[in-house]
Symmetry: C2
Amino acid sequence: GSPLELKCINTIRALAADMVQKANSGHPGAPMGCAPMAHLLWSAVSSGGVGRDHSAADPKWWNRDRFVLSNGHACALQYIMLHLSGYEDCSIDQLKAFRQLGSTTPGHPENFCTKGVEVCTGPLGQGISNAVGMAIAAKHLGATYNTTDFPNVISNKTYVICGDGCLQEGISGEACSLAGHLGLGNLIVLYDDNKITIDGGTDLAFTEDVKMRYEAYGWQVLTVDDVANGLDDLRAAIEEGKKTTDKPTLIKVRTAIGYGSPNKEGKASCHGAPLGASEIEAVKSRLYGLDPLKSFCIDEDVAAYYAQQAAEGDKARVAWEANFAKYMEAYPEKATELQRRFNQELVEGAFDDLPTFVYGKDKPDSTRKFSEACLNAVASKAPELMGGSADLTESNCCQIKGATDFQKASPEGRMIRFGVREHAMAAISNGMFAYGGMRPFCATFLQFAGYALGAMRCSALSKFGVIYIMTHDSIGLGEDGPTHQPVEMLESLRAMPNMNVVRAADLNEMAAAYQIALKSVNTPTVICCTRAPVSALEHSSRDKAMKGGYIILPEEGDGAPDLVLVATGSEVWRCVDAAKALQSEHSIRTRVVSMPCQEAFLEQDESYRRSVLPGNIPTLSVEASSEHGWHRWSHAQVGMTTFGMSGPLEELFVKFGFDAENVANKGKELVEFYKQLDGAVPDLNARPSFVNIKGSAH
Amino acid sequence: GSPLELKCINTIRALAADMVQKANSGHPGAPMGCAPMAHLLWSAVSSGGVGRDHSAADPKWWNRDRFVLSNGHACALQYIMLHLSGYEDCSIDQLKAFRQLGSTTPGHPENFCTKGVEVCTGPLGQGISNAVGMAIAAKHLGATYNTTDFPNVISNKTYVICGDGCLQEGISGEACSLAGHLGLGNLIVLYDDNKITIDGGTDLAFTEDVKMRYEAYGWQVLTVDDVANGLDDLRAAIEEGKKTTDKPTLIKVRTAIGYGSPNKEGKASCHGAPLGASEIEAVKSRLYGLDPLKSFCIDEDVAAYYAQQAAEGDKARVAWEANFAKYMEAYPEKATELQRRFNQELVEGAFDDLPTFVYGKDKPDSTRKFSEACLNAVASKAPELMGGSADLTESNCCQIKGATDFQKASPEGRMIRFGVREHAMAAISNGMFAYGGMRPFCATFLQFAGYALGAMRCSALSKFGVIYIMTHDSIGLGEDGPTHQPVEMLESLRAMPNMNVVRAADLNEMAAAYQIALKSVNTPTVICCTRAPVSALEHSSRDKAMKGGYIILPEEGDGAPDLVLVATGSEVWRCVDAAKALQSEHSIRTRVVSMPCQEAFLEQDESYRRSVLPGNIPTLSVEASSEHGWHRWSHAQVGMTTFGMSGPLEELFVKFGFDAENVANKGKELVEFYKQLDGAVPDLNARPSFVNIKGSAH
Ligand SMILES: [Ca+2]
Ligand SMILES: [Ca+2]
């Protein structure tokens, strides 16, 4: 590198050390080690850089080259580069407010907080797996919308910086094995091979041959042994990576954590704590081009250098826009559809083809088959629905009819064969959503959401409306037994902020589930489905189900009911049977409430909620899942308190008390319980709901 | 193989097909393909087998060679082999009751259900990762208890059969990378390389070079191209694996799923459904040694063959026992300790050194530091506590003082450097527990329990008392921000059956946490810890905390209190401050309840529970975590309804309402809310609790 480039790199290092020092918390070591990589990734080709095109003027420009900082704890680096490129959220004041409440420079990158940040990273392995999703999205959209005369409407690359931690995580192994299989030549990963993890040297726990592993995945792996004494090798490796379009590239870059720190370079001690004022002064004395007495200092030549690189990127955007205007003229339908997709607008009449169940005419079926019908009804109109299953396509009933597979030789295909890789599947779906123009869906058994929860949480946090199709949603899956029977999973997901959990009782409610899912652009939705058929329901309703909870069987006669049964999914029809028996055999006037989506129900006003669940009427909840959480809605519960067992469905439902007979018995007991208390039914609605957050939160 | 061996193998195949057919559900393909492997693993050395020593007479014999069927859906195979070896839980009647409710032959292997089954498998990737834990346990115990004159007290090997699915899962990559690093030469994995997954050929999603990947991990990888036409290659490979003691061995065995099925062999269609009666007849007509008209048929020569192999294993056990008797004489202390450990007995005075916090004298600290003190207090007495962190040893405060690392060159060490591999860490801990003689502990940030949940659930289901130390347990971790701040995790874990979740408020409660954890031999415990210091509590108590919930600040004066605040962990002292303010400023007589462990509280009798939480007194819960689930205990909640934010702890606690001032304000509002309702406080305890399970469940 030239002296100016060296000064640029050292300026980045000093800024990172300053930011962490001012915040009095954070991670200086990785930014200092990775600064040369960032420098080249933020330099134009004419400056010997990678020519990564992006634009502060339009951070969401569709064809920008994506950058993911998978080792998110190094985010000072990302904020600095965004600052140097003119991104408004990373002003110098924001760099000084690093990790402070309300700043746009939080402790780990947050896509919804800082323009120029693509995804939330920090939980290790997520970012690199997101990047696989972005590369898939780019390949697919390019194959779908580019034409021979407009080959570059979608043609960007995705660049990643990651560390040892990301590569140790299983999720990255899953995602990168798939990336190799798919030959994602638009993906370039720079691996910060600094031989250090938090606990100490990588020799403590990570001595595998990473190069060989990635070659086994089908990647091109290049090695750069030294970035301290020159950028040429790294530059050449990135160029090689850009040229190689039939497979992803991993560049293993030997670096030193905390480069430049006389006492901490190469040591775990500079990973997660400020260097200290005197050490920072020593760094600045030692590194070319820095003034040891200045903080947050960016000399004019350095600022001008990066301004120039940013201008190149913006020029590319302007040229692309001119090209897109011509594309719009030549291919108005394609161009308009792409616009709609990137604008996250629903296709016109998106829900028109959603099926309706006609009671007395249509045949009962499993809700996973109903899900298949609804998925196909919306997917036929909305090409942005792209996804697949973790090797359970048929069991999850998630095949779009007539759709082909997205494979190396068929990138226009919209079904993804994720393999048995649940965690990567969810993270890849996040990356696809983050890319834009996509509404990814993905599927597995509900129990195995437990494998994917790290990434599903990132969907919710990042406001990515990924659609999760989770079948085999209770002990009702039967013989496969407790290893496969979810018990706690519905509650795990319901406890998560910004996550819709929908458990439909029949086809009409399933149509509502898809409508909720598609409308919730910034909230992921988990659609829970049964393996086995459910009986037909006379009074189910898509519109009512959209409210999250509604009366599916009104009590007989006038006045308040004697008992309310509230249930979801495959337990609803059993409650209807139980209610009818209670009425006819015991004259207990019983209402049944179907509650497919607690989140939607909580959004209704109080009077509606009370009209459905009065609260002061004995209420029994029935769900073949953990009771935990149901005390909010019901006085007593028929739910799971143990794990399930292996056996046929109907025997299991009797064993665990979900048969109509037990439900009726328990309903009767509940009514009698309160009679003995002289009718003193605690009113579950008679409690205030406190808003505790001061100001806005994410 | 000899004609008899071929007949043996075919008998296994036919039995598997028969079992699935009779159950009318299950997985015939993998058992039929893997039958030659199982045959050799269940044959003595003298019969050309692997000489795997185990004993139906004592299935828990310590030094048995472990077998893990990682592709658990193939469990018909395991039950058949156990049957042929004389294990009582797998009688021919039980084989006929495959996948039926209450049988000891459930749809996936369950360690607590079937003697001879080591771990629950089925969730893919768990078994092979458990096996890594077993191999670690064997290495460590051997290094600790064997002597030059008694080198074989603990000397067994661990064998695994796994399929493509297990190798695609990230968890196995994590575990196997670590196994290679540790050079676990006592681990031999047979990989059922059948080129088929549920969705179809492995060319759909899994084209990586598995051999190369495992070599990159540091494994010996052997390839067997054909087991259909002879056993010699596989036999030789297993022998080679047994000879290689410095690294684990993967044997890649080319097989055909559903071997012998004229119409389904090699096809995904025989993976997860019965073959059909006529197809089974065709199989039996085709395969040597079978009678096409007989079901569940085991000819005498076949039965005699396996009885002979089982007898060899039992002989080995008898010889080992004689040797152990001599060891007991020579090394009574070691032998007795080993017995205690395998009997899962607590060491005498296990809790004697647990520290006590003296109010007014001791210095406040974070509960993670308190956890460190308690861990060390018990670990100094209990050598069965072995474990470590996923690369956060210092942050998790989980170093046993003076303990060395378990490494290839130091297998006697008891600290494990798991690397950034949370999911494998939990599964390895499960395997160590399953091995026996071990109380594994493992640690990460609470948020990253989300990465490990698949395996943590297996701890709970399998009744493995693994101890999870989870620090940074709320938004109180501060600047790292919402990617690292758990919100839903406590509720996820509380919703899980057979899982203790303990969130201690200070050192005394932390001592209770460790006491609960160690006493819960068959229930895993999650110990949640703060990053930051908590203020001292005057009335905390280890004994009272053992009850799960107790009054930590009684209301002033006589009669029922005006308000109850119930909190956990770092919110308790803030509630105490709030309560004092409510009393002094508003004369609201406020009780504070500390509830470190809901599970333990629910085990107390009703009168105790009512004495702590009356239910009909306005009750406000305060926990810096999801409100979800707290409606059971409180009328209103101060809790999280969104994700957190990046910023300093105290600012976050004010922002989200967990400061004493907001708690006091909300407490006052709650009291006033019910005054306006003329004091009609719904009694949260006035509800019945129904037991719905008929008979016993797991
Ligand atoms: Ca590193
Ligand atoms: Ca397979």
